[in-house]
Symmetry: C2
Subunit: 543 residues, 2 copies
């Protein structure tokens, strides 16, 4: 009694169909005195009620799925819903009321333990000629036969234009229309489960994209207290941050609950700035654990972080943030530099046999170690932590795509060396991640591509990429990220494995043998890095 | 072998006299290609050698204590040493070579456990009419007889002008000249120990003051990645941050080792921004623990933080930063609002009896609780943690001095209510802190005062203060922080207790009885907040 207790401000933000035929609209807009709901088809405008936490609501009695709407912000224009669940006409157009109902085919799915995951990362647009969820479904048998047990989908939140890696998404709840929208994504998840594969969605909670981002008109979603490399930092610890956190908590809940994802890959957690006593990531982990209990199935959170910080994955009771796993890029760098001999950019910190040996024993090579590239001491020690807490790779979208020419290992090193990379990865005591195409020695690059509607922005992106490549001292001009051809060149070429025996089908067979070996050999399933004994010689260049 | 290991970059930065009669100069200046040492008296210039970590060194064979020097940065002028140990002519003048030798009187001192500390916070300038360390020594018997067991000294690092709270210091290693310089401070510490009192120094590691701050000319001491309310944030996690950390590690070492302080109070830890895997504060705690082992005596770190974040004081093994104690201002706010009825500014979050009851059981009233003032959920729970991990007060320099008129409780509430405040504090299960003068019902205000040499800066400070008071809706004009009279009005008036019995001497006697009670009653020594049982009624307004 009398104690100031935290008000529960959980809201189903967005447009939610009510039992019967009505629809309830809720938008968090504490910066506004008034918000009116505009129904596009009828041209009708409806005043919304504001509560003390800045949530505006309105209910419409007669409204069917498919109705288009916008929020009228007076002088600041008619804007889409920050929690829009579908943007059929792009990031500047109206939001659409969609039904969350879906007739799931696979209702017996059980998520395997993380220690059995072999992740296959794909970009929906470049994975197939059609670039849609439905086209991807047709290739799922290939992934299942490869022996992967989890499909990880690069971000699908609605972005401007039709070609984008996904990290420019501006409607975190809306599934990109040209990929097939929300129902298409559900069909893909369902089809993965039907084939015995878990699903992970890559989500971006550290920033939003530059075009179609109207969130600041609604409320303090962003802060200028911190800087990210990609724009305004999300306000996770300042005034009104409870509402911002709720926005992302609800987002995570949507993917787990409504879309039945098994896991989320949280992009660039090192750019989530948060000084609060209970950081956003910790609270997300706590809520996700509660949700998992509620749903009766695992809900896995995997951080991408370049900080080599064990706090991310330690349990809350041990002072950690409580996430289940995190990416460990040092493993990649140690392997890549030995295979390629490259020493540019951040690879200057790697290149020694001993580092790969370390990476097998605990994946953070830099653990309170001075990094010449970072010009500071870096990382904490992950020694003794279970292998399933770390996702490692020999290639991924960043390591390939952030090269000026987007070269895969297949064009940098020999066939035999690629086999070595595959074995090094798939026999490691961590959770391996494959990047689409590496299993069949795809030689097409994976380039950086965008096509914003805003041409000035496209120009700025090109300039920014050029600058990024300076530290690598790469010669020549980077391919134009905006050109359609750059995107087309980045697609997988499935014809490579449709013919008779060739080096592509041979590599695929090798990958299949490795995944089968991993699944059948019990020591490989234990993921106990501390039990790894490495023998190596720097002079002899062997491990 | 072959492993990239962190190079030890520990340096004795500053000017250090060598055995014999030479002197070694070391300055961390990675931003410079060349630095020349200028000896002021002889006009001689000496080239310095730079190492790979950005340290420049030079040795001079014949140099006695008292020699003045500057660093020649070419176009960027002749500048004082960032690690200057004395600035006899102010923040823009030359640095002085000083001897660290000191003939300590008290060599048998043993630091009492934190659970027995009663801290007495004083500002050297305003504590006595003379405003010096030596004058303060003459009043130490008063503090000892009061029953305080620890003297905490507001920051003494060299600042511009001669009147300053201390948070504008720009030479963290140099003791302000007008207070009596380094030897004066040592005499004060020695005299405290001789009277059985520990010593704590308030140090500012989150920012440096605005005038005389030439550090950016030497290297990346600061970063624009984060913002503090007081200027550039210190670079604790970016490129070259190892050198910045060393600078502050060496600073802490100086106070513990050379000046024999028992503890450091780390100002505004919430403004120390640091995303790294091993945060600066954790590394400081680890190094300080090692130093304590080396010195064979406790070296206590106490954080000021407004985050209600238990991570600050949890052991490293439990995922904490490993500091010994932290300030818990919620205790003050709960007590202050009940006593005064004030509800302005951050006091809007307080005012309920139940909150003071909570504060006795665990000092963070806000522990995952929604704060109307902060407009967000705030804090984590400190339930179950030992009382000696929290420093609480009924008044301190901030709570008094950040009021527009700098009023102490003595002028806001009745004599009897002041006694209640004293008892509430001194019988609490936490480490109590008294603010100089409260023990004898000083009625002089403690106002904010500065006198920078830069008049434009003084004007900006006045304007900034005025704005700060807006959220408190205080009427009228704040006293001019720059006026000498503002400082003079803030001095303690010792005449109040030099006469016969009066309300001042009566209050002093009451404080003495309370400290004696605290020292003699064993339940009060246990500092077990979880054993506190509070009975209270919101309606009846009693506790």
């Amino acid at each position: 009694m009398g104690k100031c207790s935290s008000p529960s401000i959980r809201r189903r933000i967005g447009a939610w169909l009510l039992p019967g035929c009505g629809c309830r609209f809720t938008v968090w807009a504490p910066a506004r005195n008034a918000v009116r709901l505009r129904l596009v088809d009828s041209g009708r405008s409806v005043d919304m009620r504001k509560d003390e936490h800045g949530y505006f609501t309105a209910e419409i009695a007669d409204l069917a799925p498919g109705a288009l709407y916008l929020y009228d912000l007076g002088e600041d224009g008619l804007r889409p819903d920050p929690a829009s669940r579908f943007q059929p006409e792009g990031v500047h157009g109206p939001s659409m009321v969609v039904s969350s109902a879906y007739d799931w085919d696979c209702n017996t799915w059980q998520t395997p333990p993380l220690s059995r995951w072999i992740i296959y990362e794909l970009h929906v647009g470049a994975f197939t000629p059609e670039g849609t969820f439905d086209a991807a479904i047709k290739r799922l048998d290939h992934i299942a036969e490869l022996g992967a047990t989890c499909v990880e989908i690069m971000p699908v939140a609605a972005f401007s234009g039709c070609r984008n890696w996904g990290y420019d998404g501006v409607y975190p709840f809306a599934v990109q229309a040209c990929y097939g929208g929300p129902d298409g994504l559900k069909r893909l998840v369902d089809a993965c489960h039907a084939r015995g594969m878990a699903t992970v969605l890559d989500v971006v909670y550290n920033h939003l994209g530059p075009e179609g981002n109207y969130l600041s008109l609604f409320g303090p979603y962003f802060t200028d207290k911190y800087h990210t490399p990609w724009g305004l930092a999300v306000n996770f610890d300042g005034p009104w941050s409870d509402g911002v956190r709720e926005y992302f908590f609800e987002n995570a809940r949507q993917w787990f609950e409504e879309f039945r994802f098994d896991g989320l890959r949280l992009d660039a957690c090192h750019a989530i700035f948060d000084q609060s006593a209970v950081p956003f990531l910790q609270e997300l982990a706590e809520r996700t654990a509660n949700l998992a209990d509620e749903l009766g199935r695992p809900c896995v959170l995997i951080a991408e972080s370049d900080q080599n910080k064990t706090r991310t994955i330690l349990p809350v009771a041990e002072g950690g943030l409580g996430l289940q796993a995190q990416w460990a890029d040092d493993f990649h760098h140690a392997l890549h530099t030995l295979l390629t001999g490259e020493r540019e950019g951040y690879y200057e910190d790697f290149g020694q046999i001993s580092q790969l040996a370390t990476a097998y024993e605990q994946p953070f090579v830099y653990s309170r170690t001075y990094s010449a590239f970072r010009q500071r001491t870096h990382g904490s020690s992950a020694a003794g932590l279970p292998g399933e807490r770390f996702v490692v790779c020999a290639q991924n979208h960043d390591q390939v795509g952030n090269r000026m020419l987007g070269e895969r290992l297949s064009t940098l090193i020999s066939f035999e060396a690629c086999k070595l990379a595959a074995a090094a990865l798939l026999l490691s005591p961590f959770v391996p991640l494959l990047f689409m195409g590496e299993e069949f020695l795809e030689t097409n690059p994976f380039l950086y591509f965008v096509n914003h509607e805003d041409q000035a922005l496209n120009t700025a992106v090109c300039e920014g990429r050029r600058k990024e490549f300076e530290s690598f001292h790469w010669q020549g001009e980077p391919p134009d990220p905006v050109a359609a051809a750059t995107f087309e060149r980045s697609r997988l070429d499935w014809a490579k494995i449709e013919g008779d025996y060739n080096r592509h089908t041979a590599m695929l067979a090798f990958y299949r043998r490795l995944t089968a070996l991993r699944a059948s050999e019990s020591p490989l399933m234990r993921l106990a890095p501390w039990a790894v004994r490495t023998l190596w010689s720097e002079k002899g260049r062997w491990l």
